[in-house]
Amino acid sequence: MSFKTVPAPERPTEAPNLSVPVKRKRATHTPPKKVDRRFRKKLLQGAIDENLDLLADRPLGSTTKDRERQRRRIRRWLFGSAMAGLVLIGTSIVLTMRPTLATGEAVPNSGSFRLISSPAYQIDVNDPDPALPSLEGAILIAEAIPLTIRTVVIDPGHGGRDGGTSLNFGLLEKDLTLDIGIRLARRLEEAGLSPILTRSQDVEISLPERVAVANIERADLFISIHINWLPDRSARGVETYYLGPSDDPFLNRLAASENRASGFTLADTRRLLEVIYADVRREESRRLARSVQDSLFEVLRTENPDIVSRGVMSAPFAVLVATEMPAILAEVACLSNDREARLLAIPAYRQKIADALAEGVFRFATQKERNSLARTSHRVSSRDHKDGAQRGFLTDEATSRTQRHVAGDES
């Protein structure tokens, strides 16, 4: 039988006296290099996950399972997105070529008039008022389906190494947004909704991951929470964004700063924007933004009488680009303003912000449901009463107008 032994320390000739601790000076430990570092890292991750579970008082193995689930979801979502992108590009090529085939002239790819492809319809995006697009047909399509709000993805901005804006005395945007996000999640849960947080700890999450959470969970709404920092330290207030173009250099700079870690290439962003600007989701997002903004202003005014409603604005934030549901980004306070910074340090004020955001969601959901019900009742009445037929017909007419628009018949 083979027997091999690694040299063992010399055996003591008498009982070891350990009254003085054994002290050895050795070179600083260097990890062995025989095993692949990635392999060691994987094993180490298991130990770290177990400790995170212990700290969070969760069953051991939960973090590892969550991590694996998240990885699988992101892989699936990325695969789906890639496939969708291919289909989209293919469709765009076909649509771009179609007029060329018909008229023999190429439709300019940019300019005053451009056709954007979408799975459901095509519209002119060169709208005179980009903030309030004329999407009558699209609105009717969206509201013809009486959907309720169930799943809301809450995205506390920043996290981990990305602290966001901060103040010298230790208030960090990432901590404030997480606190408000958790409070909002509780509030929505109490109301019977299913909130999902993109992060529940101080961890760094990329923008694609945040987006993936919302898309994979098939969320009904997406709310990204941020705290503003304005060059004018006396400025204060709340503002809410939805996806759209902006001519304001400050807003473009703000969006660029928030988009830094997005991981989306320029081409990705442009392709997504082309579809989404024309999407019905944009109008839904604008309504959600309006509802949340009004609610923030009304609720917070009781605690913060000098608060200013800085309005509902559109800006090309990457986190709003790739989400597939009505999505907004709320700047719920200004950390650059001393008075608001002091208020943000008070838990009760942060609860107020969460309550206001929740109220905005409830209002949006109620309004949406009311519109849907009203439309349903119109349709019922149009069938039951001849004098209501006109309104029912209008809906159908609007729909068919949209369809004609899609087919390119309408002048």
């Binding site: 083979s2 091999k4 009982a15 601790p21 025989k34 392999f39 994987k42 298991g46 981990g160």
Partner: protein, 342 residues
């Protein structure tokens, strides 16, 4: 702004001995005993508020003596034991210079090993006990720390025999789960008990303490054949008497082999058959009992009917847990450390 220095620390809090290895190259060991003077007289004689290690053991008659890590775990619900662990850790931090570094602004990031089957509550007690000494803490299973330190991460079986427990961990290239690990109460302390029981049976008037039995085991313990007779002098009916303890030592030490071998084989047979041979040939013996004469050979012999195997005694088995902890601490990404405050 300059970033504060990080000091990485691996700690093995053992039932019998505790050791520390630091990224500054410090390695220290102390016996896991802590004692407080019983009264004013003891305080005057000892001139210290608390004694740690061998000092505490040697002056135990004047002390409220604690061995806080029962079977390698912090005793549940005992404030005194929690305090004793803190004294022990404080001592290790002082002698290794970690406390001074921390006072100087360094962040201390520590990995501590616990028995493979330590419960959640034990880990939480340990976490509480470490508060104030380290800034960030990771608790891992002791045999995993040993395996990591030795780079025995694939197709290996680590058997860590300490004073309180024997811990087993089969490494299959993943973080070990409950199925990959076992803990036995049969370890060094158990051998000490066996030695005393056997000697008291043959010499009913023999009065020897568990500490004496431990010293005999550490000096003369063996498995298999001994070339020399072991004779010690100990009081019997108050009279110093020379007695032959060879047979008692052999019997007590060999009693450890069957449960350890059985657990090893149980773990090996639980893995996929095609990897069993590789694991049998890659058994690593660590812990304070590992260097015991003849133990590795006896375990190889026990594996012979199952296809044989190879048992290696880890170099420096006493520090292997702390060194493994240090390796883990140094490899853990900074972002993960930030999530694990002490």
């Amino acid at each position: 702004m300059t970033e504060s220095k990080n000091v990485f620390v691996g700690i093995d809090l053992g039932t019998s001995r505790s050791s520390i290895s630091t990224s500054d190259g410090e390695h220290h060991m102390v016996e896991s005993f802590v004692g407080w003077p019983l009264d004013m007289v003891a305080r005057k004689v000892l001139k210290q508020k608390v004694l740690v290690g061998r000092d505490a053991l040697e002056n135990r008659t004047m002390l409220d003596l604690h061995r806080p890590l029962e079977r390698g775990l912090l005793k549940e619900g005992s404030d005194k034991d929690q305090q004793a662990v803190r004294e022990l850790v404080s001592y290790l931090m002082e002698v290794s210079g970690v406390s001074q570094a921390r006072k100087g602004g360094a962040k201390v990031r520590s990995v501590i090993g616990v028995p493979a089957e330590a419960l959640r509550v034990n880990r939480q007690h340990l976490r509480e006990a470490m508060r104030g000494f380290v800034d960030h803490l990771i608790i891992v299973s002791e045999p995993f720390a040993v395996a990591y330190g030795l780079d025995a991460l694939l197709h290996a079986l680590v058997v860590d025999i300490g004073a309180g427990t024997s811990d087993f961990c089969v490494m299959q290239g993943r973080y070990p789960t409950d199925e990959d690990q076992r803990t036995l109460p049969n370890a060094g302390d158990w051998i000490d008990d066996q030695i005393l029981k056997i000697l008291e049976e043959t010499n009913p008037d023999l009065k020897a303490s568990i500490h004496t039995a431990r010293a005999w085991k550490e000096e003369f313990g063996f498995v298999g054949h001994s070339k020399k007779v072991v004779e010690v002098t100990t009081p019997i009916s108050g009279k110093p008497t020379e007695i032959d303890i060879t047979a008692a030592l052999k019997q007590a030490c060999e009693a450890l082999v069957p449960p350890v071998a059985e657990t090893m084989l149980d773990l090996i047979t639980s893995i996929e058959p095609e990897f069993q041979e590789r694991v049998r040939n890659n058994v690593i013996l660590a812990g304070g009992i590992a260097p015991m004469s003849g133990l590795a050979q006896a375990l190889e012999k026990a594996m012979a009917p199952y296809g044989g195997g190879n048992v290696q005694v880890a170099e420096d088995p006493i520090f292997q847990g702390a060194d493994g902890g240090l390796a883990l601490a140094m490899d853990a990404p900074r972002s993960d450390w930030e999530k694990l405050p002490a």
